[in-house]
């Protein structure tokens, strides 16, 4: 019995997170199938077929799966799950939405947000905002697992898996998609970016985030934020980095006007290099920063944008 990986895709593009989930699955070994559920999903399926280590791509192409409604996705995956020992998906808002529903339909536990695979039934995951790392053994025959994608390198796209069409249409009908307001996407996506620059309450306003953006443009960086900056309405919700927002681990993370609360650190402390810019030399963020600059951000950011 192999592993089923649920692919993530947006606007007809396979998300890079899928290559990372496959990478986690490969630690266990055996056959890996990828499920692509969506509407008009053939390009995604073709991309998924090139993921190294994948045996088969199974495509459920139907309007019922267009917006990844949890009820329909979970019903579909629960039907397929009987053929597998494991179901893996990214711990993205999509995966977090439908995977526990799959687990409950199959009457098994879910192991959330794993950062390492120790064996076929044992996984490592952060708990308590990353203050503790737990090693958990799943006792159920079927293992339902969500993967923290920043913890796994993506597999290469050098494979050629078979593509199989599925004729399973699960339309539960209790929920209906109304609309979506999505970020315009001129900048790299936060959880996949090589460089992230985040602003906090210290920025003072949404207008002042232009200072962050100017540096981001120079570096080709994604823009993030603390919860305080999101709550204050400076930037949209999907900018939030932290325990209850996005988890990032870029090559370079620049925190500007962010104090370094444990909930924020939980989302970025695995970055390779951390820079902190803060006017308070005692701000806790400096305790995790490789390079700390004690400065007023309103002077430091324009200078940084100029000199880069």
């Amino acid at each position: 019995m192999g592993i089923l990986v649920v692919a993530e895709h947006h606007n007809g593009q396979l998300a890079t997170s899928t290559a990372r989930v496959v990478s986690a699955a490969r630690v266990i070994g055996g056959d890996i199938d990828v499920l692509v559920a969506g509407s008009g999903a053939s390009t995604v399926a073709e991309a998924a077929a090139t993921l190294s280590g994948v045996t088969r791509v199974r495509v459920a192409d139907d309007a019922a799966y267009e917006h990844e409604l949890a009820e329909n996705m979970a019903a579909l995956i629960a039907i397929l799950a009987g053929e597998y020992s494991h179901v893996f998906a990214a711990a993205s808002t999509a995966g977090k939405n439908f995977m526990p529903r799959v687990a409950a339909l199959k009457d098994v536990a879910q192991i959330s947000d794993i950062i390492a695979v120790e064996s076929a039934d044992t996984f490592v995951r952060p708990v308590y905002a990353g203050s503790a790392i737990a090693t958990v053994q799943a006792l159920d025959a079927l293992k339902v697992v969500t993967v923290r994608t920043s913890a796994f390198d993506p597999v290469e796209m050098a494979g050629s898996a078979a593509i199989e069409a599925l004729a399973i249409v699960e339309n539960i009908g209790v929920s209906r998609f109304v609309e979506e307001q999505l970020a315009s996407g001129e900048r790299p996506e936060l959880s996949a970016a090589r460089i992230v620059i985040s602003g906090g309450r210290g920025l003072g306003s949404g207008e002042n985030f232009k200072l962050i953006e100017a540096v981001a443009d120079k570096l080709g960086a994604a823009v993030g934020a603390s919860r305080a900056a999101v709550d204050a309405g400076f930037v949209p919700n999907d900018f939030q980095v932290g325990q209850t927002g996005k988890i990032v681990a870029p090559e370079l993370y620049i925190a500007v006007g962010i104090s370094g609360a444990i909930q924020h650190l939980a989302g970025m402390k695995d970055s390779r290099v951390i820079v902190a810019i803060n006017k308070d030399e005692d701000a806790p963020i400096f305790q995790v920063a490789d390079y700390g600059l004690v400065a007023d951000l309103f002077e430091a950011l324009p200078e940084l944008a100029n000199k880069l």
């Binding site: 939405n97 799943a138 209790v174």
Partner: protein, 249 residues
């Protein structure tokens, strides 16, 4: 419409947890406990629905130790009408909690069930979705806005790319995200009044529900601490370090 809110007693979010010396678990002895922040948001939303005339009664439920009564009292002070305490000294997994909550849903027949999106202790983010599966209800997770219209519920959800709006058939399950509302503080007279509100106490054992653990905690470790690096004196020095030492730009 009756609204059921499930709340959990967890470590206070300001407390940094420590790992036990034998690495068997985290050490929660004498640690300050509180209502899970996302559950506070769920309770607040129920109270607002009642203030708007949508909710007629608010029932709060917790599955947990005797001490979790404190959190039920807090919820009653915030505006819940009555409470159900399903007692257990064991730490139940999300699936078991969802099974207990399903029983309470069957008994209470609420029009809407509110939960937090995640408990900040083990950060599972599962229970609401599992309860939705077990009851066959629609789910609106990570909610930042809810509006009840006739037999439907409109929910705006915080998703990775932005916001998504769904329409759910009632009864439904909602899990609260941070921006759903800003919870109020309980006022002293309300805290006094809450002491007289009823708490119905039952025991998990009496419900005859399968709560057998499906996972085993093998060990808990402290993560590798990051070392503080160096202070740079200027923007020029910072750029130089990033280019020539860290080689990241």
């Amino acid at each position: 419409m009756k609204v059921l809110v499930a709340i959990k007693r967890v470590i206070d979010y300001n407390v940094k947890v420590r790992v036990k010396a034998d690495h068997s678990d985290v050490d929660l002895t004498n640690v300050k406990m509180a209502m899970n922040p996302f559950c506070e948001i769920a309770v607040e939303e129920a109270v607002r629905l009642k203030e708007r005339g949508v909710a007629t009664e608010i029932v709060v439920v917790t599955v947990g130790p005797k001490a979790a009564q404190e959190q039920l009292r807090t919820a009653l002070a915030l505006g819940a009408d009555r409470a159900i305490h399903v007692e257990t000294e064991e730490q139940l997994e999300s699936l078991a909690v969802a099974k207990v909550l399903k029983r309470i849903v069957e008994e209470e027949q609420p029009g809407l069930v509110l939960l937090g999106k995640q408990a900040i202790d083990t950060d599972n983010n599962q229970t609401g979705q599992m309860l939705a599966a077990l009851t066959g209800m629609a789910q609106g997770t990570f909610a930042s806005e809810v509006a009840v219209e006739e037999q439907k519920l409109k929910v705006v959800r915080e998703i990775d790319g932005g916001l998504q709006t769904l329409e759910l058939t009632l009864p439904a399950i909602i899990t609260a995200d941070l921006r759903l509302n800003e919870p109020r503080y309980a006022k002293l007279p309300d805290i006094m009044k809450a002491k007289k509100k009823p708490i119905d106490t039952r025991s998990v054992a009496d419900l005859g529900i399968d709560i057998a653990p499906r996972t085993r905690l093998l060990k808990v470790q402290t993560p590798a601490e990051r070392q503080a690096g160096v202070r740079v004196a200027s923007v020029d020095e910072l750029i130089d370090k990033l280019k020539n030492e860290a080689k990241v730009i």
